[in-house]
Structures are given as structure tokens and as C-alpha cells.
Symmetry: C2
Subunit: 477 residues, 2 copies
């Protein structure tokens, strides 16, 4: 395999991401040592230098009075001091040959004119040097591969999802929720006001990064539209880029201005940028996570033909509505499929068709294992959406006073694997809310660990799958 | 207070709902004694007569060989025998002077021509008698007040919500999920094919029922449009009626035909019926539950002005987008409110405005308790949407190694109570997914038990509240 020659900006960011030493400026026990704990608990293997003149030591680590006191060079500096003194720390970082400075502190251009002036000083401090700034007003870097994290409670297993977020809160939320639905990350960047490195830089980096297979983005605004359009075009040629634009509304744009000092631009302009560049545009964190799940856990498809399976006739009707309204189809099954399904579905009150309402058969061992597999083999069906209603197996278990639910769920997973592995088609698990909360979590984890995407309702699954279908159709053109 | 004279149909259904004796036909230990356990565990206080010639006794109850063997009259008969023999049981029910027969069995008009013939025989069997049929192909009645239930695992605490569902699955799901978000029920009817009593009858009943304050409906189709329109008009004059129409799409309508034998009618016709009658039309179970939550837990409002509170700037931006896109407003706060909030919000990096991004202040004891109350008093604000991100207090607790999260959550609830009880304005709790699953459940239950509606994301909260606002605006006209 030929190695691709990487761009200069790729190398710069990659060095920061793979820092071998790290200084934390301003973390204190009063704040719970947020940053120090995040770094230590993520298992960072390089040198860690906490800096705070008021602290002797914590977590077994010596604290330094200032960054300049730290012995030798420091690759990465994370800064949590008041805005007014950040520029000073950045200058010291330059003196320590830092590759990157993450400025967590806020109070810059997002705040007022005075803050904007302070922000300019940060840029001046690194101008003409090899030191790059991430932020200010951001969470910085989360990279399981290099054991670098901005929270002490997110997964350190690496995975294929890259994420770029102007908002630190959304970056955290994304990492936290993604953990529960099986998403694992290559690199996550929260970059806030983007005074130096910006969304285009990180996008270019993730596009070139081999570990990253899918890129998610939350953008509020940008300073250089041309650059971003160019970066989006390049990135979408290589991998799916799913973008959530915050500040679509005028009031939201005003909020964005005071959040990250961003000029949002009109929703129309953004829509046309997304169309032009082949970006998958989404609205909201849930749709972002759901859409990424489809790209990560499902084989590519351009078929809009859904096979729907549930336990109830009511669900069958309303799930069909939601698929159709999303622009998908719920076609007839082939004669052969119906004949084959006939052997497994109880006759009383349910007929064999798409959507498939299994009613009582749903809970019979052996039924779903076979029914799902047969449905997956139908040439009329492109993907299967399977609704798991936890309160049926849980109740059966209670009524029969026997541990039957694990057998039922095991059969479900086996059936889904047949669709995915034998027929190479997407299977989407719909897992609606229920009062059986423990069982809900256990069942979700069962499907997640078997590598299936899980959605809270049919509408979100249909939307996410359709996003992916449109992407692959465009690719094919 | 003057007692209203009730309609004849009200009295008929009310007698069925308050049955004093009950026979269960065809329940067997093979099926886990589903019906018998549902009735026994719901605490039904009248006589219970299980009928199955193959069973001697179960759960300490004697089984009868046939319905006619049961001593004396039986108010309510629940039938679970193959479709072909249901008519016979209905005839016997008439002989036992039953007020109502719930036909759980399916295999009637929803199935094929033969089934439609069988269904006609049921109608003939009660024609000219005082016995009424609910079903076939349904779950029947769930009424905590009379300790009658169609599941052994749903709440038996009575409440203000009435629900009418053509689908048994949706009726169950509604009851199950409603339990977790604090909804409690007066009467729930699942009526399936509606061969005798139909949606208009149940709607008329719930409209007259004093215990029912809000009515939810899931309809797939109807036989008599005029009657339903009339019933909807009458009902909406008395209380909010929230309707979810299943089978909106053509494919969904086909599914409905084979689910409850219903003719769905075009989506356009239904839309105009809903407009004409003042019904609150919703799409999907989640929107139905969310909208009912607003009617149950919030004071009436016609103001579209939202006050938004969250911990993160990113959430502030995107929550604003969702409110605006739903047609709500996020106005400026009054000068006075800003001044008052100033005392409680940390200065670094957050400015005081709407949406209010509390950042670090979010976790400070005493902050939310006061901030929420002050926001509620602002005359520019009609409702408050408060986003609770469980992973912040949970992490603070972990970092500080002190049980601070209960103090933080306690302050949140106190603040929300001030808005509701002092300012008499709606407060909607946004509780997004998180990996802190135990804490999530505990926090949801905390808000639910304090009487607040809880939503999975801002979009669903905004949609549900706007549904209610539009209803109250129409009422005011």
C-alpha cells in the first residue's frame, strides 16, 4: 500500500494530537482538578506537568509555579486561567516550543470588545511561530488512540468516528451519548472561537486521517467561507461528512455570536453550501448521532425499500406512515418470501405481508431468528427496521415465571445478524421508551455489542437511514 | 354543583367500566394466564369467573366449564377463544345479561372475507339486546378507578388522562411509557375493529366523564364520519382532544385495513376534520404523550415567548433554533431581570441574556433555585424550558468526591416550582440521553414526582408546548 503524503496542516495537528508531554495551567483542587483528572484517568502516557503556584502537589504529581519552571519542552499546553492572563501563558508556551495550546478559558471575542482585543493578543503571541492555538473557549482534544481526553468519563476505546465541534458542550454530549449507542471515536476536536486553527483545518486533518471513517461536525459560524467550502468538498470525496449547523434561526445566530463570537450567515447560504459540497446536513444532536450510526454500523445501500417488523398491528401502521413520510417505501414481499415466512408465523389474526405484524409469534423461540433472515433475503427489501418492544418479552417472562426473555432476545440478534452478514443489508433496531428500564438498557447493550445501530423511534431511524441513502445515491452518480 | 344529566351511551359504557363481576373465557396456563393475572393483579374487587373446560383451577380460582355454568349474571365478559367460536360466547354473554363483552380474539374483518362474516355474527348476537361489544381484535378496558386492567404491569393509580386507541399495542405502549413520565389514566379503551361500540361512543363517554380532563386518541379509520365529527366537536368544547391518525400514508392505510379492517380516508380529509373540530392533531406516540404531558402538568398559556436555560452555549444556540423553527419566540429579557440575575450568574465567559447559558454557575448550589424563579417573573417570558444535563452534576460529584448532586437537583426543582407556583407559567424539563443511566432515571423521577413534564429533547418539548398554545389561542377566540 502506498502511503499518501500528508499536508503540512495534517502534520501540525497530528503532532499536537500525539503530544508526548503536557502542561496544565491553572487547574486547582477547588474545581475538582477537572483537567488533571481527565488527563490522568484517560491514561495519558507522556509527561504531565500541572502548573499552579498555589498548589504543592495532587494525585501524586508535583505542581510547578509557572510553565517556564517546567523542565525541557512541552508539546501541549492546556490553559485554564482568567482571560486577561492567557496571552502571557501562550507566550510562555511558545518559549517552551509547544506544538499546541488548548485555551479552555472563555471571556474573549464571544463576550465583548475587550475580549476580542484579548483574543487578538493570543494570535499575535503565536504569529510566526510553530505553536498553534485551539480555542479559546473550547474543550480541545479527545483522542482515545493517544489517550488524551477532555473528560474523565468518556470511552477510551478508539473507533472510526471523527467529530469537530465549535461547542464544547455538544462535543461532550456527543461523546457521552455516543458511548451508549456503540459509537467510538478517532479524534474529537472542540475548537470554540477558532482564533487560530479552525473548522477547515480540523476537517482537512480528519479527511486525511486514516483512522477516521466518518466525520461529524457542529458549526456555528466561520470566518473564511471559501476555505470551508474547499475543505468540505475535499473531505466528502473521501468519506461521509455529516454537518449540524447551529444558529440557523436569526435568534439562534445571535446566540451563536455571543457563544463563540461567530457570524452565522443565512440558513439559505448554508443549505446551498451543503448541497454543493455533498455534505449530509442534519438538525440536532440526535439526528447527528443517528445518522453517524447508520454510516458506522450499516453496509452502504441506495435502496429505499424497507422491510418492517414489529409485534403490533398499530406499530405496523404507524411505522409505515413514518417511513413513507420520510420518503422511503414499504413494498410488497415476494411470493416466495411469503411462502417461506408462512412456516414461522402463527396464523391467528396476522397475515403475512410488509409491514410484518408478528403479534403472538413475536415471543416464540425460533420465530424471529428465522423470520428476520428470510425477510433479509427478499430482493424487494433493501433494509430491515425491526422494532423491539421490551415490555412484551419482559411480561412473558413474568407470566411464565421462566427466564425466557434471553432466549427471545438471543433469537432477535441472530435474526438481525443473518440480514447483515448473509444478505449484507442494513438492519436498524427501533427501541422505544418503556417502563422496564433495566431490561431496556440490557437489550440496548445487547444489540449495540452485536454491532447494530439502535434508535429511539421509527421516525429517527427512517430519517437517519434516508440521509445515508441520499449520500450513497449521490456518490453513485 | 348541579349534576349533568348523562347520555344513554355514557351510562351504558360507564356500567361496563364499573362492572361488578367478570368472566374470562379461554385464558389458559399455557399462555401464562395473561388475562386472569391482569385482572387479579390490578386488584379487581368484584367476582372473577375464569372459564376453560380444560383447567380445574389456577391462582386459587375455580375454573368453569362454560360461561353458562357461572352462577348468576356476569357484567363483563372478556373473550380469548378462536374467532370461529366467539359468536357463540357472545350469545351466552347475552344470556348472562352481560353489559359488555370485550373480544380480544382476532381473525375477523381485519383478516379476510370469512372473518368479516364472523364479525357480522357478533353484531347479530347482540342486536336488540342490552349487551355491547368492545372489539373484536382489541385489548378492551384499562381503568385504575375500577381496578380493571388489560396488563398486569401498568399503574393502578387513577389520573386525568383518557385514551381511546384502535390499536391494542399502542394502548399498551401508551400506558407503559406514560407511567414513566407521570401520566395517570382515568379510562383507556382499546377497541380494535369496532364492530359495535366505536371511537365516537368512547369519545362521547370520555367527554362526559368528570374524571377525564384530557383525551388522547389513536384512530386508524372509521365507519361513520359524521358521527365522529359531531363527537369531536362536542368533546373539544369540554376538554382538549389530542388525536394521532394512523394510516396517513397510502401504504399505512393498507396496513390499517389489514390491522383493524378500517377504511382510513385521505390525509387531507382528516386534516380538515381536525381543523374544523378544534382537535390537536399529532403524529406518533411520542408527540401524543408529550402533548398530553403539557396539558396535564402545565397551566394554560397563549404566550409563545420562551425563556431558555441550559449549561452550555452550544445548547443555547441549538435550543433557540429548535424553538424558532417550531414557531416559538426567544425574546430579550427585561432590564430588571438581567439586573436581578446578575447577582447569581458567574461572570467568566457567560453574559446574561435569553437563552441563558449558565456554564460553571449551573452546578453552584443556590444558583438555579434563584435564577429559574427570577426568569419566571419576567413579563417577557411566557414559559421556561430548562435543560438538565445529568452528566455535569454527576461528574462534579465524582470529581469533588462529595454527594453534591442531590443539592444541585434539589435547587433545580425548587427553581422550577417557583416558576410554576409563583408565576403560574409552564416549565418544561428537557432531559437528553446520557451515559449516566441510573442518575438519568433518578433525576427524571425527581422531576416527575414534583409534577413537571419531562421531554427527551428541545424539539419535542417545543412541538408539544406549541400544540397546547395553539389550542388555548383557538379557545380564546
Amino acid at each position: 500500500m502506498q502511503m499518501e503524503k500528508h499536508s503540512e496542516i495534517f502534520n501540525e495537528i497530528d503532532e499536537i494530537v500525539h503530544s508526548k508531554s503536557l502542561a496544565l495551567i491553572g487547574d486547582s483542587p477547588n474545581g475538582g482538578l477537572y483537567w488533571l483528572k481527565s488527563i490522568v484517568e484517560s491514561g495519558f502516557e507522556g509527561a504531565i506537568y500541572p502548573v499552579n503556584p498555589g498548589v504543592e502537589s495532587a494525585l501524586g504529581l508535583k505542581f510547578y509555579k509557572s510553565l517556564l519552571e517546567v523542565p525541557g519542552d512541552v508539546d501541549l499546553v492546556i490553559v485554564r486561567v482568567p482571560a486577561a492572563v492567557v496571552a502571557e501563558v501562550v507566550k510562555e508556551s511558545v518559549m517552551k516550543n509547544a506544538k499546541g495550546v488548548v485555551v479552555f478559558s472563555s471571556g474573549f471575542s464571544e463576550n465583548n470588545e475587550e475580549g476580542a482585543e484579548l483574543e487578538k493578543k493570543l494570535v499575535q503571541a503565536v504569529s510566526g511561530t510553530r505553536t498553534r492555538i485551539i480555542g479559546p473557549n473550547c474543550m480541545g482534544i479527545y483522542c482515545p488512540e493517544s489517550k488524551l481526553s477532555f473528560r474523565p468519563d468518556i470511552s477510551m476505546d478508539p473507533g472510526p468516528v471523527g467529530f469537530i465541534s465549535q461547542s464544547g458542550g455538544h462535543a461532550i454530549h456527543f461523546a457521552i451519548v455516543g458511548k451508549t449507542i456503540g459509537l467510538r471515536y478517532s479524534k474529537v476536536f472542540s475548537y470554540g472561537n477558532a482564533c487560530d486553527l479552525d473548522s477547515s483545518d480540523f476537517l482537512g486533518y480528519l479527511a486525511e486521517d486514516e483512522k477516521t471513517k466518518v466525520i461529524g461536525m457542529y458549526i456555528e459560524g466561520i470566518k473564511n467561507g471559501e476555505r470551508l467550502i474547499c475543505a468540505l468538498k475535499k473531505a466528502t470525496e473521501k468519506k461521509p461528512v455529516i454537518v449540524w449547523k447551529g444558529g440557523r434561526s436569526e435568534a439562534g445566530a445571535r446566540a451563536a455570536a455571543s457563544h463563540t463570537g461567530s457570524l452565522s450567515g443565512s440558513a439559505k447560504i448554508w443549505d446551498s453550501v451543503f448541497k454543493q459540497t455533498g455534505v449530509v446536513a442534519v438538525k440536532g444532536l440526535d439526528e447527528l448521532l443517528d445518522t453517524i450510526s447508520v454510516f458506522v454500523f450499516c453496509p452502504p445501500t441506495t435502496s429505499e425499500n424497507m422491510g418492517l417488523v414489529s409485534i403490533s398491528g398499530g406499530s405496523s401502521v404507524s411505522n409505515t406512515d413514518f417511513c413513507i413520510e420520510e420518503g422511503l417505501s414499504v413494498p410488497e414481499l415476494s411470493y416466495e418470501t411469503k411462502e417461506r415466512l408462512n412456516d414461522f408465523v402463527q396464523k391467528m389474526g396476522t397475515s403475512i405481508k410488509n409491514p410484518l405484524d408478528l403479534a403472538g409469534s413475536y415471543n416464540y423461540p425460533g420465530v424471529l431468528e428465522n423470520v428476520l433472515g428470510i425477510l433479509g433475503e427478499d430482493q424487494n427489501i433493501g433494509s430491515v427496521m425491526f422494532e423491539v418492544q421490551v415490555h412484551y418479552p419482559s411480561l412473558i417472562e413474568k407470566l411464565l415465571e421462566a427466564p425466557v426473555s434471553n432466549i427471545i432476545y438471543g433469537g432477535m440478534v441472530e435474526g438481525c445478524k443473518k440480514i447483515r452478514d448473509k444478505s449484507n443489508k442494513p438492519v436498524l433496531i427501533i427501541l422505544p421508551r418503556t417502563s422496564y428500564e433495566e431490561a431496556f438498557i440490557a437489550v440496548r447493550n445487547l444489540f449495540v455489542s452485536a454491532g447494530f445501530p439502535v434508535f429511539p423511534n421509527i421516525a429517527s431511524a427512517a430519517k437517519a437511514l434516508h440521509n445515508a441513502i441520499k449520500y450513497f445515491k449521490r456518490k453513485r452518480e
